[in-house]
């Protein structure tokens, strides 16, 4: 078995990507701390916001920059883990990490705000995300995307944005943009999004042949490696018998693929489970803290119902 370190430092740790993220992080600090007073209605950065944002950035780097990314090009199951973490963990973290007042300003930008408001409408966002996610995993599409660097970048970023839109209505607590107020609606939203990505996962899990060219040994696989391995390294490696994923793992390709589907589904279920738990908890707190008000409501309702009795 060959270790993946043969691809060299750049492929493993994506230094340029790392630098980009560092710059973004500095920008974040600058806006939220240094230049904050230049914005009206700004509020001081809270600790939890900082933590969420840093964690989000870190996860983005881990999934798209670190060796995980490279593995994700070799193993389909790793790719699915990467997707799950990027789309279902990093995305909500970033939303929560950016202070509300910034979001308010973003949504106030004339055209952009309107578009965002449409894209983050619950019905739209859940459909767009599921559609993009499912389409992405159609064998023909995935194979095409993985053979072109720009296409891959564009699609990854769009998918990520659609994930942000998916999470928005759940996390938002203000009226300037779409939000789901009631716990029940949130639950329905989560369940329907879980359902909508199931067909894609199920197909991946239950199809009985390897369907992704770019995850099988051969030309396509090697070409797709170009996405994260510098061309020079790759050409230097040619002739070392680099033929396909089997060089790095003993797992049969079909199992890798099925495991990918299963990993995606399980991770997604765990994440959604945690979110459901949180929704339940906040519902519980709401009921506990507003018990008197709820009682008044019940008394009124009782009166209404006995009016005609």
């Amino acid at each position: 078995m060959v270790p993946i370190s043969i691809f060299g430092f750049r492929a493993l740790w994506s230094p340029y990507f790392f630098l980009t993220l560092v710059v973004l992080f500095l920008l974040y600090l600058a806006i939220t701390v240094k230049w904050r007073d230049r914005f009206e209605e700004s509020e001081p950065l809270t600790r939890s916001e900082l933590i969420y944002f840093s964690a989000g950035m870190l996860l983005v780097y881990i999934t798209k920059g670190s060796p995980v990314d490279l593995l994700g090009h070799i193993l389909f199951s790793m790719h699915m883990v990467q997707m799950a973490i990027l789309l279902l963990v990093a995305a909500p973290f970033l939303i929560k990490g950016i202070p509300v007042w910034i979001w308010r300003n973003v949504f106030a930008v004339p055209v952009l705000g309107t578009i965002l408001r449409v894209l983050t409408r619950p019905l739209v966002s859940v459909i767009v995300f599921s559609a993009m996610f499912s389409v992405y995993h159609l064998p023909a599409i995935l194979d095409t995307i993985k053979l072109s660097i720009p296409l891959h970048a564009v699609f990854t970023i769009t998918l990520f944005i659609s994930a942000l839109c998916l999470w928005w209505p759940l996390l938002n607590e203000n009226d300037f943009a779409p939000r789901l107020k009631q716990g029940l609606h949130k639950i329905a939203y989560i369940i329907s999004s879980a359902i909508l990505i199931t067909p894609a996962c199920a197909l991946i899990i239950f199809v009985d042949t390897p369907v992704y060219e770019t995850y099988q040994s051969g030309e396509a696989w090697l070409m797709s490696m170009a996405l994260c391995v510098p061309a020079s390294t790759l050409s230097a490696l040619s002739g070392t018998g680099l033929s396909g994923p089997e060089v790095f793992t003993s797992m049969p390709i079909l199992y890798d693929q099925q495991m990918g589907g299963v990993m995606m589904k399980i991770l997604q279920e765990i994440i959604y489970g945690v979110v459901l738990g949180k929704i339940f908890l906040s519902w519980f707190r709401h009921e506990r803290d507003n018990a008197d008000e709820l009682t008044q409501k019940q008394l009124l309702e009782r009166k209404r119902l006995s009016m005609y009795n």
Binding site: L184, A188, F206, M307, Y308
Partner: protein, 110 residues
């Protein structure tokens, strides 16, 4: 006595408001009906036109799902107040329905 019925008359203004609202609602429902008919037509047409099954099946399924959503939310008023738990149970039912169908088309052989 509790079973003396109180009758509350609406003022003319209130009544007019109620009328207006229900007429507006009715108009939107009529539009939804038109939409539903339209979608049905598309479904049948897509099949008749003989496109590839890989295209037709997702499309007709999607249209069916949307149509059902319209029925539930517009004709059956599932979005109105007091339908929270109702919606919850409908979604629960749909989830289980979905799982059942999913297994029957995957892990029962053939």
């Amino acid at each position: 006595m509790a079973h003396d019925i109180e009758i509350i008359e609406k003022t003319p203004a209130e009544y007019a408001y109620k009328k207006r609202r229900s007429d507006r609602l009715m108009r939107s429902q009529l539009m939804m009906f038109a939409l539903m008919i339209f979608m049905t037509l598309i479904s049948f047409a897509a099949v008749q036109a003989g496109f590839s099954a890989y295209f037709v099946i997702p499309v007709v399924l999607l249209l069916a799902a949307v149509q059902v959503g319209l029925q539930l939310y517009y004709f059956m008023h599932m979005s109105e107040k007091g339908h929270g738990l109702v919606a919850f149970f409908m979604y629960g039912g749909i989830l289980i329905a979905f799982l059942t169908v999913l297994t029957f088309v995957t892990i029962i052989w053939w």
